[in-house]
């Protein structure tokens, strides 16, 4: 190693300039990471592929300004020089730098970092009097030349720069190393990559705008942010408060909250912070504190009437600094023609409205405003100067037409940062081959390594009808000692998804399978999920098995073991069939295809075995459940209703209203397996195991629940999970079962989210899972659709290997990586839930959009009031599973009143809100009172909005329960109605598409086939998910 020194002039603590000397070591062994390297560079890690026509070396300016374009996967063979990376780090800040780091880490992008400043031959010291920029350009050029020579000229190197002098100076200096401008590069090498050109133009324009603006520098709209050190010191001394800004969805202009250790601080002086940013807040004096607005509000942007602030004043503050910006891609809509004319003055700059209410309008400079009018468009925010009312951004790409199903779904995906391109060829090439002609077979070598359960165990799976991706199977048998052996067998996905393979990277990025109302986006390619990893009956499959030896009487666990196994499932049962067998229903036998074509005696014998196993399982499950209940496990209610469709978009499976006992049996076995695996991995890896925790909820969030319950005369004890479970069971109104359902859903809303975490980042007493009442819990049983399970599988394998073969810790994440991964998975799960909810709402709106209550019976339904506001009520419509607001005072200030036949009308009058009821009194003296849990008849309307998602609105039309002739029937079949809804909408959307563009229709239909739901999920998973969804979904909108 050579040692040199760098002399730097730095600003010292007191503003004095300090001379600092730093060592700088140069070495010959910096790996070049090229696939073509003829020398003996180490070849571990990511390599540049050799099937490109050239390597491209962007200089500092290009990396700083056009990183987004370099992110295009089409651009290959990119070498980021260390000099350029450091420039980004110093000048662009952490966010941009992390973006660059992630790009380099991502195995799917063909780009690398070359540490040119540490290489003996490519390092150039900065000369006296040389400017930083000049030195950087010179270093990068020199490194590019070195790289070209290092590869013996096999591959031309193109350096792209924005510096005209450099192009002139170096352009012809070395043969094989070209220096051109970025625009030139895109034009010459990627003339067909239209998206990149557009993005280039829009970034360039945004930059020019910014430059010209900074020269103008007109009057300031916002106070400047405080410098970082002052904010940091202020936070430490307690003068400022740090927190994440949370904008109120319903009053985006007026209210935003910062949630910190439980109390919210409301502030209107948001000072350029955007929803999701981490900010520092300074509290205002007490006399300026404001209360929370309780009135319902229509989300109209022009509606700026001062809201009547009621409620107790709460701490109010203003933002003094933004600690971390959380900008992402935003879906926006360009203003319609009429609106844009009023804005007209500056034709190139357009104010666009984001889809998300919480995001302010964004100023875009583009010439395509007219052409993009009817489309949903993605933009990015570049900056927000204190001189500007709105942030500046640039246009990125078009999603689709407004109101078009595909466009809207794409908007939902972008808003939740979900990226689901089809699996690439390179990923598919990693998959094992399995076709109907040439089915996949067990590898004989692998067979020797695994425990063979094919002949010794009776294994079967219980799933919904028609399910294809079976990731779990069960077995039970009695041992010679008289004890029982219970086995849970989970598909061994990790066998086919090697750590850090392309498929693994992709699955990690997706983190979960995304389920939207009408389609789904798989985490793993379907060859795995539906075939090789699916534990189908009669086929040999790899599995990971957990088996317990249970005491024969008490079912105490005596011994547990974890094995890699080969299994052959004997039966693939449907829930209904299994329940039929359990109940002794002989008709159920006909539904088992595996028992057909057998003679009478073998059939009888096999059937008896199966029935014994199922009933034994049920008995064990009851036992475990009872034990868990005694610790305080909660039974929670998710109001969400799910629809399952097959690939022709027909109703395929409906969730029965009353879950069968078999569901619980299967769910209980899975919980048991998850629990024991959690124990095992947290013991073996006390600092790097992935577990799932559910922290106990804060008591103050239960206030609303307690108040609501007391309105009906129930008392809810929320002190512990056990007390809560018991009091929720008691709060049952025999006349109105919905009350209990609503109370349970309120309880779930009050709870915090269940989250994945790494055991190294959290003290052991916080591992507890509140909802399930288990001290340790993880996810192990669905590796096909959750990435967390894959990680847990790897951990479990490493844990068992460690015991037999000593220390094998490869592919185990360190605590820090795991923590980051957990954050990512939690984040993705939240996005998945949001996307699912939004897509359901989208379908609801599209369904009701062109129906009017006069012509359509379906728009009128029965609703239950579950919350009272000053100018209206929140209503739950059980038939469609809709929660929405109903106003009692309209825009003209008229209030609702009822006639003798209890039909409602609008009349002048006033409203009075009480704790658990609301009364409207008209000027003529009539009054109507609505109280909590009253049944009313509502009309369902859709409030359309050009820029945002449509919303459902309710209108009270009768102050009495809905009594349509078909009410009974529809009540019973409300799931049917719901699924009809999705079907109707998607069919009409498809029809519209076909009519619109005949040519494209077929392609689209194909895409449809690819993405739409092709298989059902097992019902226990659904139930489990509902349970957890309920735990997770603490959305703020319910409390507004």
């Amino acid at each position: 190693m050579l040692r040199t020194e760098k002399v730097l002039q730095l600003r010292g603590q007191h503003g004095r300039s300090v001379r600092v000397v730093r060592e700088h070591y140069l070495r010959p062994d910096v790996p070049c990471r090229s696939g073509l390297c003829p020398a003996a560079c180490p070849r571990d890690g990511k390599l540049l592929s050799d099937d490109v026509t050239h390597y491209v070396v962007p200089d500092c300016k290009v990396v700083q300004d056009y990183l987004e374009i370099l992110e295009f996967p089409e651009l290959k063979g990119i070498i980021f020089m260390q000099t350029a990376c450091q420039a980004v780090q110093h000048q662009k800040g952490r966010r941009q730098y992390n973006k660059l780091r992630n790009l380099v880490k991502d195995a799917r992008h063909d780009c690398i970092v070359f540490a040119n400043e540490f290489h003996q031959h490519s390092y150039l010291p900065r000369e006296k009097g040389e400017s930083m920029e000049k030195w950087q350009t010179r270093s990068i050029y020199n490194a590019a030349v070195w790289y070209y020579n290092h590869c013996l000229g096999q591959m031309p190197v193109v350096m792209v720069t924005e510096d005209e002098d450099a192009i002139g100076q170096y352009g012809n200096e070395t043969e094989g190393v070209f220096v051109i401008s970025f625009k030139n590069y895109l034009d010459n090498f990627w003339p067909d990559l239209k998206a990149a050109h557009e993005l280039f133009d829009s970034i360039l324009q945004a930059r020019r705008e910014r430059e010209s603006e900074s020269q103008e520098n007109s009057g300031k709209e916002y106070p400047e942010h405080l410098p970082g050190e002052i904010v940091e010191a202020g936070i430490k001394s307690g003068r400022y408060i740090q927190g994440t800004l949370n904008v109120n969805k319903h009053r985006a202009q007026l209210e935003a909250f910062v949630r910190l250790q439980g109390f919210g601080s409301k502030e209107t002086a948001r000072n350029r912070a955007i929803h999701g940013d981490v900010v520092a807040v300074e509290l205002l004096p007490v006399q300026e504190w404001k209360g929370r607005t309780v009135a319902l509000c229509e989300n109209e942007t022009e509606d700026k009437a001062p809201a009547d602030t009621t409620g107790d004043p709460m701490p109010t503050g203003k933002v003094v600094g933004i600690i971390q910006k959380n900008w992402r891609d935003y879906v926006v809509t360009f203003p319609s023609k009429e609106e844009s004319q009023s804005q007209g003055r500056n034709a190139q700059k357009v104010l666009v409205t984001p889809w998300d209410y919480r995001i302010p309008k964004i100023r875009i400079s583009t010439q395509q405003a007219e052409a993009l009018q009817d489309y949903r468009v993605v933009v990015r925010i570049d900056s927000w100067e204190s001189t500007s009312v709105y942030p500046n951004g640039h246009f990125v790409r078009v999603l689709g037409k407004i109101g078009d199903l595909e466009g809207e779904i794409a908007a939902i995906l972008v808003e939740n940062s979900i990226c689901v391109a089809p699996f690439s060829e390179i990923q598919m090439s990693e998959m094992p081959v399995s076709s109907s002609k040439n089915p996949w077979k067990v590898n004989p070598e692998e067979e020797k390594k695994r425990l063979d359960l094919r002949d010794t165990h009776l294994i079967f799976s219980i799933d919904p009808k028609g399910c294809e991706d079976v990731d779990d199977a069960l077995s039970v048998r009695s041992l010679p000692s008289g004890n029982l052996e219970l086995g849970v067998h989970i598909a061994d996905v990790t066998q086919f998804v090697a750590a850090n393979s392309y498929t693994d990277v992709e699955a990690r990025a997706r983190a979960t399978t995304y389920y939207l109302a009408d389609r789904r986006y798989d985490m793993l390619p379907s060859v795995l999920s539906a075939d090789i990893c699916s534990l189908l009956s009669g086929l040999d499959r790899y599995a990971v098995s957990v088996s317990w030896e249970l005491e024969k009487e008490s079912y105490e666990v005596l011994r547990v073991c974890y094995n890699k196994t080969i299994i052959r499932s004997a039966y693939k049962l449907a829930y209904e069939t299994a329940q039929g067998l359990l109940d002794g229903d002989t008709g159920a036998v006909d539904d088992i295809p595996e028992l057909k074509n057998l003679d009478e005696r073998t059939r009888e014998k096999k059937l008896a075995e199966l029935v014994w196993a199922i009933s034994k399982l049920t008995e064990i499950a009851r036992h475990i459940r009872a034990k868990r209940d005694s610790c305080g496990a909660l039974e929670l209610e998710g109001v969400e209703i799910r629809v399952q469709l097959d690939d022709q978009h027909n109703i395929h499976d409906l969730i029965p209203k009353q879950p069968l006992e078999v569901h619980e049996t299967v769910a209980e076995c899975m919980i048991l397996a998850n629990h024991w695996v959690a124990k095992k991995i947290s013991e073996n890896f006390p600092h790097q195991a992935l577990l799932r925790q559910h922290p106990p909820p804060r008591q103050e969030f239960f206030t609303e629940l307690r108040e609501c319950a007391s309105a009906k005369g129930f008392s809810i004890d929320t002190r512990s999970n056990k007390a809560l479970a018991e009091s929720l069971d008691k709060a049952y109104d025999p006349q109105d079962p919905i009350v209990n359902k609503l109370l349970r859903s309120m309880a779930t809303h009050a709870m915090s989210n269940a989250l994945y975490f790494s055991t190294g980042s959290c003290p052991e007493e916080e591992f507890h899972h509140y909802g399930l009442a288990l001290e340790k819990y993880t996810h192990f049983t669905s590796p096909i659709r959750r990435y967390a399970d894959i990680v847990v599988h790897r951990l479990l394998m490493a844990a068992t290997l460690e015991e037999t073969k000593g220390d094998i810790k490869e592919n185990i994440f360190s605590n820090k990586d795991l923590e980051e991964l957990c954050r990512h998975i939690n984040n993705r799960n939240r996005a998945a839930q949001c996307a699912e909810k939004q897509s359901t709402e989208l379908f609801q709106c599209m369904y009701f959009k062109d129906k009017t209550s006069e012509t359509d019976e379906r728009c009128i339904a029965d609703g239950v009031i579950y919350s009272i506001r000053t100018n209206g009520v929140l209503v739950f419509v059980p038939r469609y599973g809709i929660k929405a607001a109903a106003y009692m005072k309209n825009k003209e200030g008229l209030v609702i009143s009822c006639q003798g036949d209890r039909n409602c009308e609008w009349k002048p009058g006033s409203l009075h809100r009480f704790q658990d009821k609301i009364t409207s009194t008209t000027t003529t003296g009539e009054s109507v009172t609505l109280s909590l849990f009253d049944h009313i008849t509502v009309k369902i309307l859709v409030q359309t909005s050009r820029c945002h998602a449509d919303t459902i609105k309710l209108e009270i039309i009768r102050n009495a329960p809905y009594q349509a002739p078909a009410a009974e029937v529809s009540q019973k079949n409300f799931h049917v109605v719901k699924s009809e809804l999705v079907k109707a909408v998607s069919q009409s959307a498809e029809a519209a598409q076909r009519a619109q563009e005949n040519a494209r229709a077929e392609v689209m239909a194909e895409d449809y086939q690819k993405y739409c739901q092709s298989k059902g999920r097992s019902l226990y998973q659904l139930l489990e998910e509902i349970r957890e969804l309920a735990l997770l979904d603490v959305s703020a909108d319910v409390r507004t």
Binding site: R3, R16, R19, Y25, R27, Q89, H90, R94
Partner: protein
């Protein structure tokens, strides 16, 4: 501006070293003629001078003399010009006093003090330029000076710092790395037997990570040992040549 990272994704530290690599070491023994032993060491930009007198009779208060072994008297000081900004460091400053005590503990463990009852050994360490690991450079210089003075020791005393960047252990920290706020572990090792003569930790460090950091510091000490050993042998050859004349 984003905070600089200690270890890049490519596995380089800010100055181009890999996590386990130590800085360049240069050393000379016998830099002063008048003292019994002296040595000068450069570890990167940290430069230290050590001078040893003794063993000799007790000076000053004779009452302090120990009946069964020699007294090791240490002084540790930093030159006013040793840092980027000149700062006066009076002799009595607390940090220097503390380091002198640590130095004494370290060498009492290494010198065969029982061979010289009722006598005194003086070790003076002066840091000429500070760039991280000043105490360790002082220990290494003192070892060479003691060797130069011909004072019998159990083994070399080699010292090095180590720290943590996220999860990787870094050996031989420079000033910016020390200033990053992570834990800094200073280890003085007797390499032949692997005994620890001194172990110091500046911040809280999880038990789980201690072995990793300790391992890195130990490896750095052994690497230093190789260098110091070479210096001593080189010096021995030179002196032998002089004696031969």
């Amino acid at each position: 501006m984003a905070a600089p990272e200690l270890l890049s994704d490519e596995g380089y530290r800010a100055d181009g070293r890999r996590p386990a690599e130590i800085r360049k070491v240069r050393a000379r023994m016998g830099v002063f003629e008048q003292a019994d032993g002296s040595a000068y060491i450069e570890q990167g930009n940290t430069k230290a001078l050590a001078v040893v007198y003794g063993p000799h009779e007790m000076r000053g208060s004779r009452g302090k003399a120990l009946p069964e072994r020699a007294l090791v008297n240490c002084q540790f000081s930093m030159a006013t010009f040793s840092t980027g900004e000149r700062r006066r460091r009076p002799h009595g400053d607390r940090q220097a006093g503390e380091l002198a005590l640590l130095l004494r503990d370290t060498f009492e463990a290494a010198i065969l003090t029982h061979l010289f009852p009722r006598s005194q050994i003086d070790i003076y360490v002066q840091i000429l330029q500070a760039d991280g690991g000043t105490f360790c450079a002082g220990v290494n210089a003192a070892t060479l000076a003691l060797m130069d003075a011909g004072i019998p020791m159990r083994d070399y005393v080699c010292a090095s710092t180590a720290g943590l960047a996220e999860d990787a252990a870094l050996a031989d920290l420079s000033v910016p790395e020390e200033a990053a706020g992570g834990p800094v572990l200073a280890l003085a090792l007797l390499p032949a037997g692997g005994q620890l003569a001194q172990l110091q930790l500046s911040a809280r460090l999880h038990q789980e990570r201690l072995p990793r950091v300790l391992g890195a510091a130990g490896a750095a000490c052994r690497a230093l040992h190789a260098v110091l050993d070479r210096v001593v042998r080189q010096r021995l050859r030179e002196v032998a040549a002089l004696l031969g004349d």
